[in-house]
Symmetry: C2
Subunit: 200 residues, 2 copies
């Protein structure tokens, strides 16, 4: 357990509380209390609450991009692709199915006049789409996917299932619907693969 600076402690607490209760149900005072910091530091490091939300989004994006998160986007095999869905279900199980996607939760709370927040989220979505599309594109170039496959559209498909599945899991307090949906998605992807050899 390394010692964190004040700003990082605030961001950690904010991410946790945003994820548990949503952005609008989390007050700055709560974040300060749970991170053991004071209000003057907050004003020093962030312009306002929206500034902290933005910093939290950047931080989340960095954690995921650098591979430190439970769910990774370093997908290099069909096995890892299959595990991609499962890792989200595992993550939700670890928090008793009480939470959805940290970024999706923030995205749902963003309103019309918070364009910088929305843009930060859209940037993350574009990045994750790119990671998945890259994998599908590589497999296609390797001749493992049918010629008519659209890697970008397939990536969007996976992300929609994942976001929707996580929301359904939170609302149902169980992962049944998500698991069914992921199973169907995996079956679809399998059906797009070129069948030559009996290999994993």
């Amino acid at each position: 357990m390394e010692k964190l600076d004040t700003k990082t402690k605030m961001i950690h607490a904010a991410i946790d509380l945003f994820h548990r209760h949503g952005v609008n149900a989390t007050s700055i005072d709560q974040i300060l209390e749970s991170s053991g910091t004071g209000k003057s530091q907050f004003s020093h490091y962030f312009k306002n609450k929206e500034g902290l939300v933005h910093a939290a989004l950047i931080y989340l994006h960095d954690v995921i991009r650098s591979g430190k998160a439970q769910t990774g986007y370093e997908i290099n095999s069909w096995k890892e692709m299959d595990y991609w869905f499962q890792s989200f279900i595992d993550f939700q199980r670890s928090v008793n199915f009480e939470r959805s996607c940290p970024i999706g939760t923030i995205g749902n709370d963003v309103t019309d006049n918070q364009e910088s927040l929305r843009a930060a989220i859209a940037e993350f979505l574009l990045w994750s789409r790119g990671r998945l599309a890259l994998f599908f594109d590589e497999r296609k170039r390797a001749g493992e996917l049918l010629k008519q496959v659209n890697p970008g559209a397939l990536a969007d498909f996976c992300i929609a299932i994942m976001q929707g599945g996580m929301l359904l899991t939170k609302m149902n307090r169980n992962s049944d619907m998500f698991e069914n949906a992921a199973g169907q998605a995996q079956a679809y992807i399998k059906s797009l693969r070129v069948k030559i050899k009996r290999k994993n």
Copy 2:
């Protein structure tokens, strides 16, 4: 434009504001102002804010169940099934891609200790799943779907795509990812259909 009673006016305003800004970013006073009602009526008709949220969920469920909503669950043909996805995209376009699913938005804002709200949402999800599963089951019994098809799982798959797609649309402020995801889902469903005659 029929004259609405005070309670219904409050529920209408609440649904609109919850949908636009989320539950936690909407105050009772805002609801009262936009519905032209007073606080004493609010206390008279609802126990507290959670009571109004619950009433809004029941109302939404009724509107959808009775077929008065833009998106219907009366699916009786493959054409209507294809249109099911499209109707959500059309709905979001009509609000400038600024909003997600009304019920999903509320569901995202529900916290641990609001079990009655969560249960009301889960009930709606179960109903919508039942509607879709019924259609798939009927088609399967009619010999139009492959024997290995699981109607319930396919219904969950559609709902996950729809919920995730709507959230992505709101976050991206465009429906590109949703349309791609829906296209893939439709292709998958098509691949499960028994091919005998060249018919719609």
